[in-house]
């Protein structure tokens, strides 16, 4: 790699670990004004209080917001050189009838705007083969001219078009990555394929070109976002390009710092969320409950009873058109009622402990349970909630966070 390009790449990717946390804010001219980017300058100011490596902007934003990137230690500037209608949201706007992607800048123009890197889209999966060929030609032209001015080029590869279906999405992504690499892309941005094994395939297809993972629409649960970051790093990704996850959260700088800790400091999700070694209790928000009962199924499965509604240590009931969530509240009445001391309350860890050998199957614990959650299994032994040894699965799997873990 040439000197100029090398310097710029090391500005985007931390040379100590080869990884990058990038914040894109160029959505407005692609998908319309979106929540969190009503005032790009304000959003960026807030975000820049966190730690990150690079920012992705449109040429107009680069020009208007140059003053934000003048400080020493400011993030690298990656400027978009193309536009597309492919991401237009359907609400209140007609969905696209024909995917369009056009270049809006010469790499030289981006250099003049202070770019550390340039970014364009590459779509693969058009129904019209001529359109596909033309897009490839455009991409190569752009990359060639980036090379001429030592500007690293990031290609965002997306399966997009009439040929794309549920069964071939990953195949097309892999093909698109190979095509972009052969066209000379210096770095790649791809959507997450939702699991490690298929994502590894994508990273492998990139043949050493660093792969960054796109964030997509804001996840409802913070933990999902963080777990995905760990997964994709595990699969060989070199970092993230997370926009909505960051600027649609309540504290963008805090989220960026969490991402930075995961990407550059190898922290775990539990460490970043502050869950290690803490005492937790289950808090229920019944008004959020949608009655799906996933908590009951996964409770049963996590405790070795496979998938069975009757083996859960918690219960969802419907009463007068509302859902009632009954969990173990650690009241300790079952422990008090037990004549042989088979149930103990571990105050330090905040959970019940059950000694199955001592249990005589008298059922007094079930009678004593005030929330009527405690049940006996087919052997007559109580199904005790042990908070899943500190990582409650009902909390982890609840789609609406109607059960959460509270540290106390």
């Amino acid at each position: 790699m040439s000197v100029g390009k090398n310097i710029r790449m090391n500005s985007i990717f931390n040379p100590d670990d080869g990884k990058c946390v990038m914040l894109p804010v160029d959505h407005n001219f692609l998908v319309g004004p979106i929540r969190g980017l009503e005032n790009v300058e304000e959003t960026l100011k807030r975000a820049l209080m966190g730690r990150l490596d690079a920012v992705m902007v449109s040429p107009g934003q680069a020009k208007r917001l140059a003053h934000l990137f003048r400080k020493r230690g400011s993030p690298a500037l990656v400027i978009r050189g193309d536009w597309s209608n492919a991401f237009r949201e359907k609400t209140y706007t007609l969905p696209v009838r024909s995917i369009q992607e056009i270049l809006i800048a010469h790499p030289r123009d981006l250099l003049h705007l202070g770019a550390t890197g340039a970014v364009i889209y590459y779509f693969v999966g058009y129904g019209d083969e001529e359109k596909q060929a033309q897009h490839y030609e455009r991409m190569r032209w752009f990359i060639k001219n980036c090379e001429a001015v030592e500007l690293p080029c990031l290609v965002t590869v997306m399966p997009m078009g009439e040929k794309v279906s549920g069964a071939n999405f990953v195949d097309f992504l892999e093909l698109g990555v190979r095509m972009a690499v052969e066209a000379g892309a210096d770095m790649l941005e791809v959507p997450y394929t939702q699991d490690v094994d298929t994502f590894r395939r994508i990273v492998a297809a990139a043949k050493g070109v660093p792969v960054l993972c796109a964030g997509g629409p804001k996840a409802a649960r913070l933990r999902d976002t963080l777990e995905i970051v760990v997964e994709l790093l595990h699969a060989g990704a070199s970092g993230v390009v997370f926009g909505r996850q960051v600027f649609q959260s309540e504290d963008p700088a805090a989220l960026l710092n969490m991402l930075y800790a995961l990407v550059h400091e190898g922290k775990t999700v539990e460490e970043v969320l502050g869950l290690i070694g803490r005492r937790i209790r289950l808090k229920t928000l019944a008004e959020k409950c949608i009655g799906c009962r996933l908590c009951e199924i996964i409770c049963s499965s996590s405790h070795g009873s496979s998938f069975s509604m009757g083996k859960a240590r918690l219960r969802i009931r419907e009463a007068q058109g509302k859902y009632v969530i009954s969990t173990c509240t650690l009241c300790g009445l079952c422990a008090k009622a037990c004549p042989v001391g088979a149930i103990k309350v571990n105050v330090e860890l905040g959970r019940l402990e059950f000694n199955e050998e001592k249990c005589i199957g008298c059922g007094k614990c079930v009678e004593a349970c005030p929330t009527e959650v405690l049940k006996l299994d087919e052997k007559g032994k109580p199904l005790i909630c042990d908070r899943c040894q500190g990582d409650p699965q009902c909390v982890r799997w609840c789609p609406v966070e109607a059960i959460i873990a509270e540290v106390y």
Partner: protein, 618 residues
């Protein structure tokens, strides 16, 4: 976490057993589920159609005691997979005479699996109104007594009172009892609405089925399965449509977008834009009537279902599940009605008496056009002024049809039969094979024209659902107005994928967030089947679609039945982005048959039957 080393099906997602109930002889027995059938057809739709094919002879009457009524579930049912409690009901449709596969939410499906069965096959006819009670191994037929004649809601409440909370039910309403061809089967506010499955159940004098089970569901590799189910759940949680828009605006979230695209059927498909679309949008329902979101099935993170509380001096206070998009189109824009309360109330009446809202709306829209054109008079309609947009007329017509009273007993026979009485109305009799059209204007979304024409059960949108790409931007979208090979291949892909979902059995809406990849990744550790890639799973879908076609072909259906109403083929759409369009069905149909490996008459060729290994099982 266990890993199953057993080579039989039990413990690999399946229970390994099919429960047979003969109502005539009061005989109850089980038979093992064949591993080859499970491997080739998965379960649900595939299993149901195969059983229907094998258990009936050609031209069996849907109301004959020999006609099976099949409740089929799949390997994912009852596991931690999202939406894993839906049930697939298979029989022959009394409305169309074709294959009928109809899907119901609620928690019946998973309970059937917990009771130890992969499928329930009911044949025969009880000599008195009965209910079937399944409690693990204890299965018996009991007299329905006072239940017969009750509405669906009353019947379910009564059964819960008598049998206890743990039982999950499937019931028919009075419409099913009187063999109405638009009667559905209902469960916990949800229903298998289309095609008249409720009438088949009524013909067997079966009011309800109650099931309770205590056996856990085991899968082949539980640890790996939960990992993949987690990915599926997370994918749904992180997808805008399934995590946000469906939750907030229900299925009605698409209404304004569809209207904008000129594809919202209005006044019996006279046009594709409704001037009062805003009034019946999901946004307005959210603001005015909806009070609660809920998941209709086990482990569903989407919760698109809504509870509406309506307070109106015309009918007091009612609570109803819905209305959903199809109901809003069919009882709203398609009748020119913009009165939200009236639409919700009409939905409520349909639920109580147990009929399909799409068909009832299609019937009323047809009646309104006949009335507009002077072919049917207010006298014949027993004093109803069936003008477009007349909410009172809507309510009164729905009540008559739901109860089968007066003119209602004729109207409930469906648009096709009504059109026979009015000779010049055929051009705007909006039905295919005898089933009324759902809520997408095919002239503005050509793929839906193909979808309606070739669907196994008559005009149905839930098969080759191209509207996702054509109108809603799914997977990058596809031009709604093209009708070339690209569109046909896109439709075939959607149809195959849906068949896999229908056999696993999951909810259609999982496809608004998941791709086949996530389903494939769950099916493997669930069943231990060695499908090499997701393409092979898609093949299962292709196999099932072809099997469905073979059943219809056997029953005498062919290319001449793959039609569309003349309005769609000859009348250019008057407004909107698709102004001037008709449906170019012929080229799409030709290409569809070719691409599917069927001959010019739409009959699967022998090579295709062999290639798909169907010759091994039928």
């Amino acid at each position: 976490m266990r890993r199953c080393t057993d080579l039989t099906l039990k413990g690999r997602g399946y229970a390994g057993k099919i429960l047979y109930v003969d109502l005539t002889k009061s005989k109850i027995w089980t038979e093992p589920l064949d591993e080859k059938i499970a491997y080739l057809l998965l379960g649900g739709k595939g299993l149901g159609i195969w059983l229907l094919y094998k258990l009936t002879r050609k031209n069996e009457n849907p109301f004959s005691p020999n006609m099976p009524l099949i409740f089929a579930i799949g390997p994912l049912t009852g596991t931690s997979a999202p939406t894993s409690s839906k049930t697939c009901i298979v029989t022959k449709s009394p409305a169309t005479g074709t294959l009928l596969d109809s899907y119901c939410g609620g928690f019946f499906g998973s309970e059937l699996k917990y009771a130890g069965y992969d499928c329930l096959v009911i044949i025969g006819k009880a000599n008195e109104p009965s209910i079937l009670v399944i409690d693990d191994d204890n299965v018996d037929i009991r007299p329905a007594g006072q239940l017969w004649g009750l509405t669906t809601l009353e019947a379910e409440k009564e059964i819960k009172k008598t049998l206890g909370e743990g039982f999950k039910t499937m019931v028919i309403g009075p419409a099913g009892e009187r063999l109405s061809p638009i009667a559905g089967v209902f469960s916990n506010l949800r229903c298998a609405g289309r095609g008249g499955a409720g009438a088949v159940m009524g013909s067997k004098k079966l009011k309800a089925i109650a099931v309770r089970g205590s056996q856990p569901v085991h899968v082949y590799d539980e640890k790996e399965f939960n990992k993949m189910a987690w990915v599926a759940h997370r994918t749904l949680r992180m997808s805008e449509s399934t995590a946000r828009t469906m939750r907030i605006y229900g299925t009605a979230n698409i209404l304004l977008v569809v209207n904008e695209a000129g594809a919202l059927p209005t006044r019996n498909f006279q046009t594709g834009r409704f001037e009062d679309a805003e009034e019946i949008s999901g946004e307005r329902f959210r603001e005015t009537l909806w009070v609660r979101d809920f998941s209709c099935s086990l482990n569903c993170p989407i919760a698109c279902s809504k509870i509406a509380v309506v307070n109106d001096k015309r009918f007091g206070e009612i609570t109803v599940d819905g209305p959903d998009y199809e109901t809003i189109f069919s009882l709203g824009s398609n009748c020119g009605v913009s009165d939200r309360n009236a639409i919700a109330y009409a939905n409520y009446i349909c639920d109580l008496y147990g009929i399909d809202t799409i068909s009832v709306g299609g019937i009323i829209a047809f009646v309104m056009e006949l009335y507009e054109k002077g072919h049917i008079t207010s006298e014949e309609l027993e004093g109803i002024d069936a003008k477009w947009g007349n909410a009172e007329a809507l309510i009164r017509l729905v009540e008559k049809i739901a109860k089968g009273e007066g003119i209602g007993s004729f109207l409930e026979l469906g648009v096709k039969r009504i059109a026979e009485k009015y000779p010049n109305s055929k051009a705007y009799a909006m039905e295919v094979k005898g089933l009324e059209l759902p809520g997408y204007e095919p002239r503005a979304a050509q793929g839906m024209g193909l979808c309606y024409a070739i669907s196994e059960r008559g005009a149905c949108h839930l098969r080759a659902y191209t509207a996702g790409g054509e109108l809603l931007g799914h997977l990058g979208g596809i031009d709604p107005l093209i009708y070339d090979r690209t569109k046909v291949m896109y439709a075939i892909d959607r149809q195959d994928e849906k068949a896999v979902i229908d056999s696993s059995v999951l909810c259609f809406f999982t496809l608004f967030g998941l791709r086949l990849k996530e389903v494939y990744q769950m099916i493997l550790p669930c069943t231990g089947f060695n499908y090499e890639s997701e393409k092979e799973l898609k093949r299962v879908g292709e196999r099932i679609i072809t099997l469905a076609r073979l059943y219809n072909v056997r029953e005498g259906f062919g290319m001449s039945n793959d039609y569309l109403p003349e309005r769609l083929l000859k009348e250019p759409l008057p407004e909107g982005p698709a102004k001037g369009m008709v449906v170019y069905l012929e080229p799409m149909l030709k290409e569809y048959y070719k691409a599917r490996g069927w001959d010019e008459n739409g009959i699967p060729k022998p090579e295709k039957i062999d290639e798909l290994r169907l010759s091994e099982i039928i």
